[in-house]
Structures are given as C-alpha cells and as structure tokens.
C-alpha cells in the first residue's frame, strides 16, 4: 500500500497495491489504521486503481475502516472501482454509505510529508 497525505485538505490517500483476500487483508488493515491514526485526516480515500484482485475480504476491510475513520471524526471514500471489484461493492450495499470519488484534481493540492 502506498500512502499520501495532503495537509491542506487533511486528505489521506491510501492506494492499495496488492491483491485483497483473507491472506493479505490483515497487513493492509494494520497499515491503514496506523496511517489514519497518525494523520487524523478529515477525508480518507481508498484508491483501487492498482488492485488486480479483490474478494469479500475487501468489503470487510472497507466497512471496518469506515467505522474507524468515522469514530475519529473523518469521512471515508473510495476511488477507481472497476470490473468485478465494482460489482462486489455494488452487491454489498456499502456504496449507500461510502461515496465514490475521483482523484483527478488531487495533484493540484500541495502535498506535505
């Protein structure tokens, strides 16, 4: 997972770069929670652009991070859902709670380490 924090917008982008299944999900969860606690962002965006495989473990992951982010006063969004990943998200019903966002204009925003 690659992470970027944009201070101006209090925006944390978590780009998942591995396949998401029951085996890989624990590591992703740990890293994501660590980053969310560290930056206390207003917005957390999970970017699925580099995800080549996801099963139901991904839905559990996102529901869990949604609750965690909300608890800390932030909002969670998802970006770049395609193919079977999008189908799984639609089937789960969680898109009623979690908006799909686009990351197109984010490079305009100044990034701060």
């Amino acid at each position: 997972m690659e992470t970027q924090y944009y201070k101006k917008d209090k925006l944390l982008v978590l780009k998942i770069t591995e396949e998401i299944d029951d085996c890989s999900v624990q590591k992703i969860r740990r890293k994501a929670d660590y980053e969310i606690e560290r930056y206390m962002p207003k917005r957390v965006v999970f970017d699925f652009d580099s995800v080549t495989f996801m099963d139901s473990a991904g839905i559990g992951l996102i529901i869990g991070r949604y609750k965690f982010t909300n608890m800390l006063g932030g909002k969670l969004e998802v970006a770049n859902l395609t193919g079977s990943i999008k189908k799984i998200f639609e089937m789960s019903g969680i898109l009623r709670l979690i908006p799909i966002t686009t990351l197109e204009n984010i490079s305009d925003i100044e990034e701060t380490a």
Binding site: D21, D22, C23, F53, D55, S56, I59, G60, S84
Partner: protein, 155 residues
C-alpha cells in the same frame, strides 16, 4: 459422465494458498477461452469457497482443501471441499450478510458472490464431516467480433 478435461488439486488449509488455488483454476479455465471478466468471476468465486473452508471449515487449524475442476462443452464445473466442521443450516448461511464471524470483519458476502458470479451453486454439508461446494459457469463461445479482434483493430 465423461469430461473433456479434468484436474484435481489438494493443499493444506493455509491462507497463503488462496491465491495459488484461484490462479491454478483460472489457468485451467483459460482452455475455454474466457473473457477477462469471466476469468475474474471464476477467480473470485474460487477464492470465496477456499477461504470459507480455511477459516470456517477448519477454523484456521490444519486440514486439507480439495478442488476438482472439470471442463465440458464450454462449461467449467468446480467442486471445492473440506472435512471441516460443516454448516448447520445451509439456507441461512447462504443469506446475504449472514456471517458467524462478524468480529473478524467478515461481511457475509461469500455465498452471495459465488451465486452471482457463477451460473449455479450447490452446497452439501454435514455437521462434523465437512462441506462441498459445487459451482459451474458456461463460457460464452466467441463470435467474430471477439475481444481479440477488437484489441487488434484498436492497436
């Protein structure tokens, strides 16, 4: 019944084997010339059934997961079985969002995904003996305007 082709796979119930299982079945299925989308559906359904055997059937203790895959007339039939604890009520287990492990961030989507990504899903389970999931999917024969053709003409 004879099949045009058949394969068997057995591995111990470790979650690192989930990727191995779905990639192996996808490689076998590619003999039917599926689209990328059909292949993704098969991989996801296999991953769901294998994960269920590992985390529910064997409760993360060691056991053997077996897969038999058969090809016949543009159809793939996949059986995934374990000798784990079994399912008390299959009808309830199949309901969307039903999970017996909510504390572990499971969503109860596994059977729903298998059912919608494949053409058929059958679950046989005996408490104390194990569970067998049988799924099938027809791969649509390709016409002249198939993906490969589009790829070439777009190049």
């Amino acid at each position: 019944m004879d099949f045009e082709n058949e394969m068997k796979l057995e591995f111990i119930s470790k979650s690192v084997n989930e990727a191995f299982a779905r990639i192996s079945i996808a490689a076998f299925a590619s003999q039917l010339d599926p689209t990328i989308e059909e292949l993704a559906d098969i991989k996801t359904a296999v991953s769901e059934a294998v994960t269920n055997s590992i985390i529910h059937g064997y409760d993360n203790k060691q056991g053997i997961v077996k897969i038999v895959a058969k090809l016949k007339n543009n159809e793939i039939i996949i059986e995934i079985s374990d000798n784990g604890k079994g399912i008390e009520n299959v009808d309830i287990a199949k309901e969307p969002l039903y999970t017996t492990k909510p504390n572990l961030e499971r969503s109860g989507m596994g059977f729903t995904i298998m059912e919608s990504f494949m053409d058929s899903l059958e679950i046989e389970s005996i408490v104390g003996l194990g569970t067998k999931v049988t799924m099938s999917k027809k791969i649509k024969p390709k016409t002249e305007e198939n993906d490969e053709f589009e790829l070439i003409s777009n190049a």
